[in-house]
Subunit: 187 residues, 2 copies
DNA sequence: TTAACCATGTAAAAAGTTACATGATTGT
DNA sequence: ACAATCATGTAACTTTTTACATGGTTAA
């Protein structure tokens, strides 16, 4: 998922202007882009050129005309494709790409979502093992004092705890999806 | 903390070459920089121009000469200054700046570290409240299905759980620092 | 009257990634 | 024979940020 895919995700909710998109980027903390003018307005121009969105110009009195963008069929296809990608490794570092895929997963079946979640779960488990190993290899140089040794231990433990909390969250997620299916089946 | 400060942090352990620094950036997952040639070698040149590091050239047979950089007094001052900054807001998003400050906090007193931790703790608590509020304001547009509503709930809950796990970690950290002090006092 | 909101966009700079370039040594 | 390690650096490109630019409306 790159920023243009997220824009498509928003436009798949409803048609919007660049201005509205900017506000969403500013409000939603899990998106790693600032959503500045350059990203949004340039992005929209490109998306239009690629025919993934279409614009309607709405003139206003005393204010610059609104350009309201809506997603095209090709845009929907592109969104679905981006969302269905196997979660990439950077998700485990700072750009939580998996959350973005999940947020716009409405275009996938529940089974496909489960698969994505499963893949991400495995990546997290591997990373947890890797990090716990890494603790044993902390460079000896960082033991100038018992305090520094303790602090570096905590730096690694931070990551371990985050990964564990992520795994807990993934279990809740899978449980919730099952629960939803159960309810729908019983209707 | 920007990448040059982290380089200073490493050189404060011991003098190193660009090649060694690269490996550290590659190995340590909590650092958000890839540590590619451009960043490291350009960074070192700039640091040298700013007189924050000094280089010694060590010729080798059959291999390019090593350039071993060491931190200067001015460099140590700069590092301490960077580490002592109040943790910035981006720490709460993706670039976990606080971890970097903590990792190189050996130049601070335990009291100063406690202060940093306290500040970061407060920011996390505020952010937790803010995020829990935000859940109540999730745009109604994202409820195309019960499934989507559930998923967006989980996207927000991911952040809540991370913040809670961060607060737990901060308590462990403060507890550990107290414990260390107790031990030193009892000698 | 000052700030925030509405609404668009562009320019320049900074930061980051990927690929290029060299070339000996060591292990599989 | 091929890949990895050692060891430096540069060039081209992409991404992101910050600042510039305009200008009317509304609420404190």
């Amino acid at each position: 998922m790159e920023i243009k895919d997220v824009i498509l995700g928003f436009l798949d909710w409803k048609p919007m202007t660049g201005y509205e998109l900017k506000k969403l980027f500013a409000d939603l903390d899990f998106l790693p882009w600032s959503g500045n003018n350059n990203q949004i307005y340039k992005g929209l121009l490109e998306l239009e050129k690629e025919q993934l969105v279409r614009k309607t110009i709405i003139p206003q009195e005393n204010l610059p005309a609104q350009k309201r963008y809506s997603i095209t069929a090709a845009g929907k296809k592109q969104l679905q494709c981006a969302v269905a990608q196997p979660p990439d490794a950077e998700s485990l570092k700072w750009r939580h790409g998996f959350l973005q895929q999940l947020a716009w997963s409405e275009c996938l079946t529940t089974e496909e979502i489960r698969q994505l979640v499963g893949q991400f779960q495995k990546q997290n488990e591997n990373e947890l093992v890797k990090t716990q190993d890494a603790i044993r290899n902390v460079p000896a140089t960082v033991r100038r004092s018992p305090r520094e040794a303790f602090i570096w231990g905590m730096v690694f433990r931070n990551r371990v705890m985050h990964l564990q909390s992520e795994l807990n969250w993934l279990n809740l997620l899978l449980g919730g999806l099952t629960e939803l299916n159960r309810k729908l089946d019983s209707l």
